[in-house]
């Protein structure tokens, strides 16, 4: 009986070992999205995004967000125009967090449209909330009016345990 149990445990450990090796081999092919939400103790998320400054005639679109991603589609009219978005991140869990990843990706669009971000708070302790801004701007020195006046941007923000 003892031997039988020993064989079962040994087999299981072998399976785990094989899975670990397989995981290492195929890790790059796995679809790993965002940070896992584990019970209520880990709960760092984007809670809001709003356009707080819009130049005349510009369209801030309908900014969207989920727990780790924000996206917005900005339409600017003339050189010098800006749209300023304010994004709120909250640590609603019970574990102190530290900023791990901030990536902003621009989709295809006008070259004259650029963006800049204010720095995110590096450490976000349990219960804390922080905001940061993303400014989308139409190059003031641009002399030509481009055909495309829009540009979509997606931002990914991830915190992990401090």
């Amino acid at each position: 009986m003892k031997n039988k149990r020993g064989i079962i445990v040994g087999t299981l450990l072998l399976i785990i070992l094989l899975m670990t090796v397989a995981y290492s081999a195929f890790a790059t092919q796995l679809n790993v999205n965002g940070v896992a939400e584990i019970t209520g103790e880990w709960d760092v998320k984007i809670t809001n995004i709003e356009a707080i400054e819009i130049s005349n005639g510009c369209d801030a679109g309908s900014p969207q967000h989920d727990d780790t991603t924000v996206s917005f589609n900005s339409k600017l009219e003339k050189p010098g125009d800006i749209i300023l978005y304010q994004i709120t991140v909250k640590n609603a869990g019970t574990i102190d967090a530290v900023l791990d990843t901030v990536v902003f990706k621009t989709e295809e669009g006008s070259d004259a449209i650029d963006y800049e971000t204010t720095e995110l708070k590096k450490e976000l302790n349990a219960g804390e909330e922080t905001t940061f801004n993303v400014k989308v701007k139409y190059d003031a020195d641009s002399t030509e009016v481009p055909e495309i006046k829009t540009k979509a941007i997606t931002g990914i923000i991830e915190y992990v345990q401090k």
């Binding site: 009986m1 149990r5 079962i8 445990v9 299981l12 450990l13 399976i15 785990i16 899975m19 796995l30 679809n31 790993v32 999205n33 965002g34 940070v35 896992a36 939400e37 584990i38 019970t39 209520g40 103790e41 880990w42 709960d43 760092v44 609603a92 869990g93 019970t94 574990i95 967090a97 991830e158 915190y159 992990v160 345990q161 401090k162």
Partner: protein, 321 residues
């Protein structure tokens, strides 16, 4: 001495079950995707996390064992002890956060509260029947796996809640057999346990869309008389290659703005090789405003079951109206 042997055997049994649980739980990530673990994976941080998480588990289970040993034969007291430990282990912080929104709270109840209640009942049962070592082994291994694995299955609330509920049931049944109950005396009960577990697993997999066929509850009457509000439509997922070859007259299920719609194809438009479908609800006077791109299509209607979607409709309306 014999009792010690039983405890040891059951502890090894629990060790095996715990490892199988982790393997199965992890493998669900291949269906629903993985997400990075938020926990710090430096050696010191792992050690700190393990101590912070495991010591309370041991303390709680030892306390449960002390109380159970004094009330082993009193069912009413065992129930009170279980309730006490449920109250002790509720994550009040998460509950208060979730309470602000009806849907969040419902999800919290399904993915956290119900499993907590079920697990607490299981731990009381295992401790009363054998030893507090069983829950300590299971909980510790489960917790350690969460703390050390770099990626974790990215499950939604339904999947999390369902897997935990099924796991508790299976573990309870396995130990019921291990403790010697109903092994030879009631084979029929054993078969019924197995059937119920299999049906539960299949149902969860079906709801999660792991099969070729998937259900969807109809929320409006736009397709009357083909089907109506609260009917459940079963649709068949179709291959990417066939998405442009769906015949006119078929009912397709497609998603738009985060909602699923089941409408009939009334026209097919091919512009420079890009195929789009014009759809319309049978009861509607006009065709739908936007054309449906092939990427939006989830599947083709196969059949429907009348009225069984009412609970889903009520729940949806409760949360969204």
């Amino acid at each position: 001495m014999a009792m010690e042997k039983v405890k040891k055997e059951n502890s090894i049994y629990m060790l095996i079950i715990s490892i199988i649980y982790i393997l199965i739980n992890f493998s669900f990530g291949f269906f629903c995707g993985f997400a990075r673990s938020p926990y710090n994976h430096d050696i010191l941080a792992i050690l700190k996390n393990v101590i912070v998480k495991i010591l309370p588990i041991i303390g709680i289970e030892l306390a449960r064992a002390v109380l159970i040993n004094k009330n082993r034969n009193n069912k009413r007291n065992l129930i009170i002890i279980t309730i006490l430990f449920i109250l002790l282990e509720i994550n009040y912080h998460a509950m208060i956060n979730a309470y602000k929104d009806k849907q969040d709270f419902f999800e919290y109840v399904c993915k956290s509260l119900i499993p907590l209640v079920m697990y607490s009942c299981l731990y009381t049962y295992l401790t009363a029947k054998c030893s507090c070592l069983l829950p300590i082994i299971f909980r510790s291994i489960k917790q350690i796996s969460i703390l050390i694995l770099p990626i974790l299955p990215n499950m939604d609330w339904f999947m999390q809640g369902s897997i935990e509920a099924i796991s508790v049931t299976i573990i309870a049944i396995l130990f019921q057999y291990s403790f010697g109950k109903n092994v030879k005396t009631n084979k029929l009960l054993g078969a019924s346990h197995l059937i119920v577990i299999l049906i539960s697993i299949l149902l969860v997999c079906f709801m999660l869309g792991m099969f070729k066929y998937e259900p969807i509850t109809i929320l409006s009457n736009s397709m009357e008389p083909a089907f109506e509000r609260a009917d459940v439509v079963i649709y068949k997922k179709i291959d990417e290659k066939q998405l442009g070859e769906i015949p006119i007259g078929s009912i397709i299920i497609y998603s738009t703005d985060g909602k699923n719609i089941a409408h009939r194809i009334v026209d097919k438009i091919n512009e420079n090789g890009i195929i789009q479908y014009q759809t319309k609800g049978d009861r509607n006077n006009m065709a739908d405003r936007d054309l449906v791109q092939v990427e939006q299509i989830k599947g083709v209607y196969v059949f429907h079951i009348k009225y069984i979607g009412f609970p889903s409709v009520w729940l949806y309306e409760y949360f969204h109206i």
